[in-house]
Symmetry: C2
Subunit: 232 residues, 2 copies
Amino acid sequence: MPRQPAPHGRTGRPPRTSRAQILAAARRLIDRDGWERLTIRRLAAELGVGATTLYHHIQDREELLVLLLNDHVDRIERLRLPSDPRDRVIAAATALHDALADWPWAAEVLTTDGFLGLLDASALWMVEAILAAAHEYGCTREQAVDVFRNVWYYTVGEILVRAHSTRRRAGDEPPDRRGAFSDGFDASQVPHLAAVGDRWPALAARDVYPRGLRVFVDGLLADAVSENPPGG
Amino acid sequence: MPRQPAPHGRTGRPPRTSRAQILAAARRLIDRDGWERLTIRRLAAELGVGATTLYHHIQDREELLVLLLNDHVDRIERLRLPSDPRDRVIAAATALHDALADWPWAAEVLTTDGFLGLLDASALWMVEAILAAAHEYGCTREQAVDVFRNVWYYTVGEILVRAHSTRRRAGDEPPDRRGAFSDGFDASQVPHLAAVGDRWPALAARDVYPRGLRVFVDGLLADAVSENPPGG
DNA sequence: GCTAATTTCGGAACATGTTCGAAAAGTCAG
DNA sequence: CTGACTTTTCGAACATGTTCCGAAATTAGC
């Protein structure tokens, strides 16, 4: 309990808890018990502090998760991006995707209101890189934002759907009927679905993101510059 | 209380509640009080039944929402699709998108594990239509599934991000700092973000889905058939 | 009728995120 | 030292989704 003499010019009861301590404890808890068990109360207990105390240092659970996410992204090395603008968009989007994808609880925050606005500079470089590359490719600023947003939607969707498709409840129950498609399809009503049949789970397990991303980015860039006057 | 004499060959206490009644009550509740106030307890109260009783007719809240969603999609007219395969993919995807987008609480279920598998035939025709059109365009069945999945990710992402960006808490609070991007950007660190600056919210409000979808579908179809032997 | 089996019902209880209000522990001016 | 002010802490309470388990209400076999 570092009972410091209170920094100068500060009034009020001295805090026993800090944001940094909370984040550290949260990481500890996640490492030890898994992220599903990160609850406000457990976190408070880990800190030896009342549960409601945390609400003086974070706004709510969502903000806590975003802070953890920022912290995670911070540690990701800022990889060198290709010089070709098109490749740069793809590399940055992939970095963004991967950073979020191996963060199992990213899905819980990804659609937070104004999520991007909550990221700090260390995460925003990926956004910046996409805007810059699109602009360098010949997009206007507005078009660059559109490119980013489209890529962002695709990326978020892929991560979210995937995260929730893979979440096998810890205990391995027998495959209940909510595993991808049920195999019984009415071949007269939905012939193509029936033709795919029970191969769907296997097909759905394949990773289509890298290729889909390339295709999408190529299309978006070409579409954008196609309407601009040449020779910028 | 229709105390029917219990259909033949059936034993046990006769049910006082049915799935249909539950769904009807849920719709009533949503229409009357808004969907945010649809809770298990309120729903049970509306039916004059214990809260836990509902769990004998639905598995959990998520299933209830999917059932409601199915029911909603049922009522959507099965619009006539264009004959051109490419246009048909786009039309079906747009129908899927729109059906989900004006269903404000779709966001809560969209990423449910095996969501697509929970939809019934009336909703699956859109999926079927996309597979069929892609196949007709020249894709293999596997490629058609990939096309669908890519479009699905994009669509889900757009809906989710949008739903959560627009969720202004009922009371119109002053614009807190989580509205899109905050305007203060370090122009030396993220020059392009800084250049866009406070125009971001306005730009982010524009609907890029229709155009993005067209671009994406064109790219996906072209990419798929480009690797197939000609003259199928 | 009586008992067993079967199915539905629903109250109690639990863990969760969060709000409220009051008590605690400091600083500062006099 | 005293009283006003400020900030932090935290127990009580609330609504939520959900599980447990016993009670209730019916049919089937005798």
